[in-house]
């Protein structure tokens, strides 16, 4: 019986080549898109789950309140980890990660800047599951100046040589011995490191027991990623409940003195990848995007399934005779259902095979787009294969079920006499609803794509209030060089292509220095945490910051270096300085008892500029000068001859005796990276939209062919009655355009609600959803659907009525 089903299924598929082609193509693309999104989502939600003790590991985080200003960080003060372990029996072990930052490392004649090196506690391998290939995981990070490298770093620095016991030298001349080699950190780890340096090194460098000291003041410096491994059956909640006592013992005295408080937060390791937006966090996934993509995958599959349902029921009139004959020949309804379901299953399975092929072929491109290194490990992980196969069978059954039950219920007497089995109304209504559903989704996705791109354009074109373009950023990692920076700058601006140069502790996009200062408010001086950047005389000019009041720093004014400060407009508003901000006082750099430091006076106010990405609100910031090593050199250059300009800078860099190789970046690139996840969203959205629309159009093409065929007689009669080509075409287009318009009307509120929510929650500064964008997506949908149906519609409309009316 089954063979018979299969045979007749294959015959029907090959007989109706056009419809089969449309269906298989739609299913193949739908399943392929589903697989891609499935792989992506599976990877995203698998983050950090590979650690054997993952369910017992927590990351502890900081919640500081300083002078009423609330700040949350993904890192905690350095002594927090050891102190928690000491005080709480729940904590079995802890491990801290201290980011070394972008630094130079050398071996022999090979030297590279590395930004994936961390100082860690030697307990790392007791908590996390990382495979150590060579060396002893227990002891490899105990001794100071030990380094554990990953395979990639081993290849990069040592090539074929055995790295064990070899010495890697840091840019500052410290020598680290390679004590172990480990596997690379999996791509689904939220904390990706390339090498680990022993935490005991910090003590060795700073003297004493710097990494473990529990001196009270050290609890008030923000510091390191800290992970706790809890005992079996222990509960993180009980640590939080008892934290008050811990606070009183270790932190309260200093906290009260500086008018601050602290609370401990924590995130289970396996949730870290999707945890909320807090400062100093590592790059993360976005759960909202996971939901969006999952929904999109489901919709694409549904649309492909609907295509099948629609085309199958539309063709029912043609199949009616077959049903009648089979029934007369003795087929039970059950057998007919089996037969029709086999047909849809066979189609889905053909689509499945093509989809697998597509995924294998396109995976590298997808990885590129998504910024992932996903594998299609179909054969190593049978559950993946069976999941996808299961989904395929499910889709096959869903899409086949309605046609199967519908067709098999035809009464042989009616259909054999030449009726169509029903009045064509019930099936027709369902088809219309399904087409509306398909196009509502397609239109929502068109709107989504347009809005995402509008927002990206907005981000790109928004006036940031400072010069972002043609800025070269140098980082001064060695202190000897930093002391020569003024002459270095002077030397650089001698080149006519270097228009300005400035030296500062922060730059727009990298401005994290927060300190408690006393601000003049009404008549008192109040403690407040404030963002600050130490700058030089040329900062405002180089970055093109616009003064709205007062003046900029002036070399002629001897006191500027000591007591001038420039604030932004937000500061003025925040501290209610609106009548006259000039001359207002800020006390900076005082000791814990409030003595010492400097009293700064406001000499100017700059127009607000976006020193953080547009996800964030502009906050108060102060710019002033101090005799303090400043890390960044920013150069405003002529966009022409950039090559030779860079060469000139490199020459001077070496001439001035920099100990590290020349390295630079463009400020625009840094800013581009801030919107990377939105860029990716944009690309993935566009592709999904194109696929969704494409599959929906395949369905429409099939349906329009059917409708044109079905209406041939009606068109003929109408023409005989005097209808013009225009009348006839209007009739045919109306049928579909009306559906698309209904879909559009349904789509508007849904899309608006979702997209507005995305803009509001993701960005402080965002574009608005304009009526034009909404209309454009509707018009686009109508135009492309009209073009799609035109092929069959025009053919039918222009046919000779004489042929049509003879048609029986």
């Amino acid at each position: 019986m089954f063979l018979n089903y299969l045979k007749s299924a294959l015959r029907n598929i090959t007989k109706n080549k056009f419809y089969s082609f449309l269906n298989i193509l739609g299913l193949a693309i739908g399943i392929a898109a589903f697989i891609f999104i499935f792989l992506y989502v599976r990877n995203e939600i698998s983050f950090d789950k590979y650690h054997e003790k993952a369910d017992r590991i927590y990351r502890v985080e900081s919640d500081f309140t300083i002078s009423g200003k609330h700040d949350q960080f993904a890192i905690v003060p350095v002594p927090m980890g050891p102190a928690l372990k000491l005080e709480f029996p729940e904590v079995e072990e802890m491990c801290r990660f201290n980011d070394v930052g972008n630094s130079l490392f050398k071996y022999g004649d090979k030297e590279f800047y590395e930004d994936g090196f961390y100082f860690v506690d030697s307990t790392i391998f007791d908590i996390f599951t990382h495979k150590v290939l060579v060396g002893d995981p227990k002891s490899c990070l105990v001794e100071p100046y030990s380094v554990v490298i990953t395979e990639s770093i081993a290849m990069k620095f040592f090539g074929d040589q055995n790295p064990m016991g070899e010495i890697m030298e840091s840019g500052s001349g410290r020598k680290y011995k390679v004590t172990a080699i480990m596997e690379d950190v999996p791509i689904n780890s939220h904390l990706k490191f390339d090498a680990l340096l022993s935490g005991s090194t910090i003590a060795a460098i700073q003297g004493g027991d710097a990494f473990n000291s529990m001196e009270p003041v050290r609890f008030w410096n923000i510091g390191v990623y800290t992970f706790l491994l809890l005992n079996q059956n222990a509960d993180m909640q009980s640590v939080h409940q008892k934290f008050g006592g811990f606070y009183d013992k270790y932190m309260k005295p200093v906290g009260d003195a500086i008018n601050a408080s602290f609370d401990l937060m924590s995130t289970p390791l396996t949730n870290t990848h999707f945890s909320g937006n807090i400062s100093s966090d590592l790059p993360k996934g976005n759960m909202a995007y996971i939901y969006i993509f999952s929904a999109v995958a489901l919709f694409i599959l549904l649309i492909a399934a609907i295509n099948y349902m629609n085309m199958a029921t539309a063709r029912s009139a043609k199949r009616a005779r077959e049903v009648g004959i089979r029934k007369v020949a003795g087929a039970f309804k059950k057998q007919l259902i089996g037969q029709f379901l086999s047909e849809s299953l066979v189609l889905a399975l053909i689509g499945f095979a093509i989809a697998l092929l597509l995924v294998f072929l396109l995976l590298p491109d997808f990885n590129n787009l998504a910024g992932k290194t996903l594998e299609f490990d179909l054969f190593r992980k049978p559950e993946l294969f069976f999941t996808i196969l299961g989904v395929t069978v499910f889709i096959g059954l869903i899409s086949g079920s309605y046609p199967a039950f519908y067709l098999s219920s035809f009464l042989p007497v009616t259909v054999l006499k030449g009726g169509s089995g029903d009045k064509g109304r019930k099936g027709g209504m369902l088809r219309k609803v399904l087409v509306i559903f398909q196009f509502a989704i397609a239109i929502i996705m068109i709107m989504g794509t347009l809005i995402v791109y509008n927002q990206l354009t907005f981000l790109k074109n928004k006036d940031m209030g400072f010069n972002k373009d043609n800025m070269i950023i140098l980082e001064l990692q060695d202190s000897a060089f930093r002391s020569k920076v003024e002459t270095f700058k002077k030397e650089l601006v001698k080149n006519s292509n270097i228009l300005a140069a400035t030296n500062s502790t922060g730059i727009p996009g990298d401005n994290s220095w927060i300190q408690v200062v006393k601000m003049e408010k009404d008549t008192a001086m109040v403690d407040n945490a404030m963002l600050l950047t130490l700058v030089d005389y040329d900062y405002l000019d180089t970055y093109g910051l616009e003064l709205v009041e007062g003046r900029t720093f002036d070399r002629e004014m001897g006191t500027d270096l000591e007591e001038a400060v420039i604030v932004n407009e937000t500061t003025v508003k925040y501290y209610n300085w609106t009548d006259n901000p000039i001359g207002k006082k800020i006390h900076w750099g005082f000791e814990m008892d409030g003595s010492g430091g400097r009293i700064l006076k406001v000499i100017g106010v700059v127009k607000d500029y976006h020193f953080n990405s547009l996800h964030n609100k502009v906050e108060p910031i102060m710019l002033f000068m101090a005799d303090f090593d400043k890390y960044y050199v920013s150069l405003k250059v002529n966009p022409e001859n950039i090559g030779s300009t860079l060469q000139y800078i490199e020459e001077k860099w070496n001439e001035f005796g920099a100990k590290r190789p020349f390295n630079y970046r463009m400020l625009e690139d840094t800013w581009g990276e801030m919107y990377e996840s939105e860029q990716k969203l944009g690309v993935i959205f566009t592709i999904s939209t194109i696929l969704t629309i494409f599959i929906a159009l395949l369905g429409l093409l099939g349906l329009s062919s059917f409708v044109a065929e079905q209406k041939t007689k009606e068109i003929g009669i109408r023409k005989v009655m005097g209808a013009t080509l225009g009348n006839v075409l209007a009739l045919l287009y109306k049928e579909f355009v009306l559906l698309v318009i209904i879909a559009f009307i349904i789509a508007i509120p849904l899309a608006y609600w979702q997209l507005d929510n995305w803009l509001q929650t993701s960005f402080v500064y965002h574009t608005n959803i304009s009526i034009l964008t909404i209309l454009l997506s509707g018009v686009l949908a109508i135009i492309i659907s009209m073009v799609t149906i035109s092929f069959h519609t025009l053919k039918a409309g222009m046919s000779n009525p004489v042929d049509a009316i003879k048609y029986e």
Binding site: E714, I717, V720, M721, G722, V802
Partner: protein
Amino acid sequence: MIKTVNLTKVFRTDEVETTALNQVSFEVKEGEFVAVMGPSGCGKSTLLNILGLLDNPTDGDYYFLGNEVSGFSEKQRASLRKHNIGFVFQNFNLIDELNVFENVELPLIYLGYKASERREKVEAALEQMQIIHRKKHFPLQLSGGQQQRVAVARAVVANPKLILADEPTGNLDSAHGEEVMNLLEQLNKNGTTIIMVTHSQRDAEYSHRIVRLFDGQIVTENIKEQFAL
């Protein structure tokens, strides 16, 4: 009213050339009722299509209401057609998706009548065909005879000068067939010219004269009135 001179229609497919009409010349005067008879494939339907301005002849002249129309474009023919000709087909050719009223209304829509005028005319035509009680029904809910009465109503609703009927009783039993023929006779008596293709000698009796076609040519023209005189 209608005059053809050496009307010829040749169908070409890739290999074969078929002459469906071969130099047909004849004339129909206003108010006449003409039956066209002949075996299957003799060219009856082709002739009717050309007379009905649905198709152009390959050669020869066709005068319709005094205009030579053989070279008319589809658009010109459509305009002439909808103002002057009504059609009745063997298989009724009603639109299944439209109800009786809407089917009959169709020609009036394309003629640009206002809704109120259309309602009046459609109801008058349905009244005349005694099918007014079924105006909300769909074609598939009607018997063959009822469907043909709807089709005749549609053919006459715009008051055409000419009605072309292609085997109007071919799909009907004799009782219903007679009903339809009586309707046509009535219309003719009221002044409408009728040309009817038929296989049935009995139906042909209703006409004033019979034109017999064979292999695309007219073989006899039997003017009944001549004998009657």
